[in-house]
Amino acid sequence: MSDIAIKVENLSKLYQLGEVGTGTISHDLNRWWAKVRGKEDPYTKVGRPNDRTKKGDSDFVWALKDINFEVKQGEVLGIIGRNGAGKSTLLKILSKITSPTTGRVYTKGKIASLLEVGTGFHPEMTGRENIYLNGAILGMRKWEIDKKFDEIVDFAGVEAYIDTPVKRYSSGMYVRLAFAVAAFLEPEILIVDEVLAVGDAEFQKKCLGRMKDVSVNDGRTVLFVSHQMGAIAKLCNKSLLIEKGTLKRFDKTGLIIEEYLSPSDGIKKEKNCYTVPEELAMQKSIYFKCIKTLNASGKIADSFGFDDSIILGVEVVAKRDIKNVILGIGLQDKYNVRVATFLRELTQLNSDDVQQDLWKIEVALPKGIIAPNAYNFTFALYIPYGFNFDQVESLFPVKIYDTGTDFSRYEGIDFGNVIVEAEWKLLP
């Protein structure tokens, strides 16, 4: 009980959509009148879930609804969700920028939040002055900054320019200085939003390292929001998945990332079977009519054992000559990074009848090599360096589950995308 640093209870946040300021006086009066009569706020009742893709009839939306979770001290918690899912709202509430509509957050220790680096930097002031200003904004006392000053300058690598106005800095230097101040904050709880998206690769590595330090060595609690799954996977042991304002899952990071990246709505949900939309088919001369992922018994499936083969059933319609046309299949991992590519010229499959207009193709991927993890596929029909006829991108989420590999006891942890045997030898 005592080692919990943050406890979030039934947290909800209601936002008003559209133009705030037209008719608000009347709303305010209505609200006040309801309150006087001891009734509930008339506007909270009509709230709908946070789904920006649909236009609702209500002007109010729950950006967050009934969020509950606890974070242990020294834990690095990742927060994952699509744009507009409510991540930023959650961070804003936790960092006291806005207040919740209902619910409570209990925290232990000083909180500092980095929703942006270099907040309050003034271009006319020197690097030195900005360090003090920014540090103070982030809640540091002057003597704390004095103590850390040299380290900050060193970390940012701007010794030579410390007394130059920051407007003369390159954007890289600016960001480095800004991050350096933040990196030397010493709160018990640190909230970080996507700030690593800036700066060069080397500096990013430095920042990630610094954040890891902060939690491992100093025992501080870190909440980290990012769209870079790699960074989350590296830093956080546990993560929250937020979807449409609700907490969808709170689990080990590996499992959360998998769930986040396996698309779950729209066309993708149709049992891993893609059929071309009618109006799209009309416009193309060669296109995918239908694509399915099948298991060994020929049934449509989206999860496969490590020992099973994934079979791709592809139907291509060709309304023109298919000479030189290549069917390309890309296998991507959960970070959308290409794992393998499979290519075949259509004419190689059937050199006799190139006038054929419906091609039913079956591709069996090798079994026992693609590691238990989450993947998706990209399909393309194209002529190399020429025309791209049709492309279906990042569809067909498939999951490979473990059927007893050496790694099975570490389930949920990412061991890469292929499992291959190595030769081991003990030298005398």
Binding site: G21, T24, I25, V105, T107, K110, L115, H122, E129, L138
Partner: protein, 288 residues
């Protein structure tokens, strides 16, 4: 459930809730952030100083020009009384404190909208911002005050017998605190409204100008017909300006009760200002 709350209740250092107590002014937190206040003041100075060609010279030019304009328009053309004082000194005496008030008030009343960017990114006690305004403007006030003293000294040196300084000029710090408090309180109350209804800002600039004419800044209180005097005296700024002029020039009126009224007014205004400000601070990011 109940026991759990009790058990943890003592250990949590902070609880974020939908609403906080109306009279929780968070003054202790403001004190913890006093270094930030200092840095903000410094930033304001650097910013004004570095961005203009003439730099701090503007601080002198502006009040001189206003004084000259007033001297010509109200003194020479309209022939409004200046209580037998040299016009320049009379207007300057009124304007020095008035300008401080109007600057602080206008700036404080838009504090949420002008700082929305920084408020949306990081938390610190928001009260720091209006406090910064009041402190930063002290520098500007000091320059105008100095300017006033120069002219004032010149006329005394010349042996102008109508100027009769007295002990009441020692009240200057109190007058300054009154002006700061009133502008801060009023500014914060208006800042709550300008976040929601932005058009109020225009009304405000206009309103402040009107208020100046409703305060004996460019005319002596004595020149007001008796039937209106009560209304002018209801204005808490009246006593402040009058006392200032009484102390330095020896003309005008002074009464402890009027000054006491202003002080009580200031305290009430300040307290309600802080209360309203803290209330808005919690939710304004959603409406701004």
């Amino acid at each position: 459930m109940n026991t759990g709350e009790k058990e943890s209740g003592s250990a949590w250092t902070e609880v974020i809730e939908p609403r906080s107590s109306l009279f929780d002014w968070k003054l202790k937190e403001v004190w913890n952030y006093r270094d930030l206040l200092r840095m903000f003041v410094r930033r304001d100075l650097v910013a004004t100083y570095k961005q203009t060609i003439l730099g701090p010279l503007w601080f002198f030019i502006q009040p001189i020009f206003t004084t000259i304009t007033f001297t010509i328009v109200f003194g020479n053309f309209a022939g409004i009384s200046s209580d037998g004082q040299p016009r320049m000194v009379f207007y300057m005496a009124g304007l020095t404190l008035w300008n401080y008030f109007s600057e602080c008030f206008t700036k404080a009343s838009t504090v949420f909208t002008t700082n929305a960017n920084i408020f949306g990114k990081v938390y610190f006690p928001r009260l720091i911002m209006p406090l910064t305004i009041v402190v930063s403007n002290l520098i500007k006030f000091a320059i105008q005050y100095l300017l006033f003293l120069v002219f004032y000294g010149y006329f005394i040196f010349k042996g102008n017998s109508s100027i009769q300084p007295n002990n009441y000029l020692l009240l200057t710090p109190l007058l300054l605190v009154l002006m700061a408090g009133i502008s801060l309180g009023a500014g914060m109350i208006f800042s709550a409204m300008t976040t929601k209804y932005k058009d109020l800002t225009f009304l405000l600039t206009f309103g402040i100008q009107l208020l100046m004419y409703a305060t004996p800044v460019i005319y002596p209180l004595a020149s007001i017909p008796d039937q209106y005097k009560t209304y002018v005296l209801l204005n808490p700024l009246t006593a402040v300006i009058e006392t200032f002029r009484y102390g330095y020039l020896g003309t005008g009126t002074f009464s402890w009760s009027a000054l006491g009224y202003s002080t009580i007014f200031m305290i009430l205004l300040l307290l309600s200002g802080i209360t309203i400000f803290n209330r808005v601070e919690r939710s304004f990011m959603d409406t701004v």
